[in-house]
């Protein structure tokens, strides 16, 4: 996840330019890019998986987001702007992907989040129950509310980052989150009237 700060060398990352360029500028650029990737890939991937409900497609689209970020790196020094740019790009790719297809958020296909290699069957079952519960709660939200819930609770963006990525005011983002939480709470009350 973001901020894990795992070492770049651990990935065996090629911090040298692909084209074999070894000037100081290009090495610095590669390193800046690796840092950006390390900070952001987890949240971008998590968000795309939440929106797409397909792990392979989410990987593919994440790679496209970062490949595009490479060309924009000079403008992404500021972490807030970098986050906003990455998620705005991810949303553009999603919009392209869903163009012409109704029913944008594939809630029925929320990824199970299973890690079969590592999880016990009980853990898998619990995970699936959690997600089907969430799917149920989220169906009462508007598309925009689900989107912002994804950005805040899955990708872990702060309100000001969401505001930048979506071109909204911070106050507006906060209001949408309040409204979404109220709807989720109402749905919970229906399910568990005793609290």
């Amino acid at each position: 996840m973001p901020g894990e700060g795992a070492s770049l060398a651990g990935l065996g990352m090629r911090t040298r330019s692909i084209r074999g360029c070894t000037s100081a500028g290009s090495v610095a650029r590669d390193e800046a890019f690796a840092v950006l990737y390390e900070r952001q890939f987890g949240r971008v991937y998590a968000y795309l998986r939440y929106r797409l409900g397909d792990e392979l497609l989410a990987e593919d689209m994440s790679a496209e987001v970062f490949a595009r970020a490479w060309g924009k790196l000079r403008n992404l020094d500021d972490p807030d702007r970098a986050t906003a740019w990455l998620f705005a790009t991810a949303r553009n790719l999603l919009a392209d992907h869903y163009r012409g297809r109704p029913g944008c958020l594939p809630l029925s296909t929320l990824p199970t989040g299973r890690h079969p290699a590592t999880d016990s069957p009980e853990a898998q079952l619990l995970a699936e129950e959690s997600l089907s519960f969430v799917s149920h709660c989220l169906t009462s939200l508007s598309e925009r509310e689900r989107e912002i819930v994804g950005l805040r609770f899955v990708a872990g963006l702060r309100n000001r980052e969401i505001a930048l990525a979506l071109g909204l005011s911070e106050g507006n983002v906060a209001k949408i989150i309040h409204r979404a939480l109220a709807k989720v709470r109402a749905r919970l009350r229906e399910e568990y009237p005793d609290g």
């Binding site: 990935l11 990352m13 330019s17 692909i18 084209r19 360029c21 000037s23 500028g25 290009s26 650029r29 990737y37 890939f41 987890g42 949240r43 991937y45 998590a46 998986r49 939440y50 397909d54 792990e55 392979l56 497609l57 990987e59 994440s62 790679a63 970062f66 490949a67 490479w70 060309g71 012409g100 929320l110 990824p111 199970t112 989040g113 890690h115 290699a117 590592t118 995970a127 959690s130 997600l131 519960f133 969430v134 709660c137 805040r152 609770f153 899955v154 702060r158 309100n159 005011s169 911070e170 106050g171 983002v173 906060a174 209001k175 989150i177 309040h178 939480l181 989720v184 709470r185 919970l188």
Partner: protein
């Protein structure tokens, strides 16, 4: 409420939310805020699984990003002019050569240049077309042999399958049910320019290009029984060549004369 106050209260709540999501105690919320934070905590815990990244994903996305960067000798050619060192020099040389050639009237060749410089579209030998249902229904995708550069080529809720590269790697013939039954179509290697070649209420499938790229053979039951047909690459002049016993027969052109 003034904009500033609005933002202030939004930030206060956002900070509380952040503390809650990190599992820390909120500072001193009002009763209403506390209830809201409890909902947020529940929602976050239920969504926790979606925040986890499975093992290997970090490395795979990184590798795929790098591969895309490598093939990204594509559009931002002029941006790279402002890059550093050798790359900029090489780009200037290419730009100068392009201008010279253009001045010498070599325009048709120059127009081909961007295409020639794009590794992903160089030819069929370097890319693989395949059919996948990863988006919910069968679509045609292309990928480099090293697993990079995955591209979706068809976007249609109906079945698309049977991809076949033209010998020059510029086009892909395929079968689609987008008009109601199996017909042969052709598109450019990047998925653009889809054209329907066959128009028959019977099923047409399994297109195969002739080695010179001028004809396409396919299977059809348009005459009541399965058979082998051939047509020009533009869909004209359909002829039945032979009766085929099975619908799943495979076709191959001979390259030797």
């Amino acid at each position: 409420m003034a904009d500033g106050d609005d933002r202030e209260s939004s930030r206060t709540f956002d900070d509380e939310l952040e503390r809650t999501l990190r599992g820390e105690e909120p500072t001193a919320p009002s009763a209403a805020t506390a209830e809201e934070l409890a909902t947020a905590r529940l929602l976050a815990s239920r969504l926790a699984r979606l925040r986890e990244v499975p093992p290997g994903v970090r490395e795979r996305i990184w590798a795929s990003t790098q591969a895309r960067r490598a093939t990204e000798a594509r559009t931002p050619r002029w941006q790279r002019l402002s890059g550093s060192g050798l790359a900029a020099g090489a780009n200037l040389l290419v730009a100068a050569a392009v201008i010279l050639l253009a001045l010498q009237g070599a325009l048709p060749w120059v127009q081909e240049l961007p295409r020639l410089l794009r590794p992903g579209e160089r030819g069929s030998a370097s890319r693989i077309a395949f059919v996948s249902e990863r988006d919910g229904n069968a679509e045609i995708y292309a990928i480099e042999p090293d697993g990079s550069g995955l591209t979706r080529l068809t976007h249609h809720p109906a079945f698309d399958g049977d991809p076949a590269w033209s010998p020059d790697g510029q086009r892909i013939a395929f079968r689609s049910q987008r008009d109601g039954n199996n017909e042969i179509y052709v598109m450019n290697a990047d998925g653009t320019g889809v054209r329907r070649l066959t128009h028959h209420p019977a099923d047409d499938l399994r297109p195969v290009w002739s080695p010179d790229g001028r004809q396409i053979a396919f299977l059809s039951n348009r005459d009541g029984s399965p058979g082998l047909y051939v047509m020009n690459a533009d869909g004209s002049d359909v002829r039945r060549l032979a009766d085929g016993p099975a619908a799943d027969a495979a076709l191959a052109w001979a390259y030797a004369r």
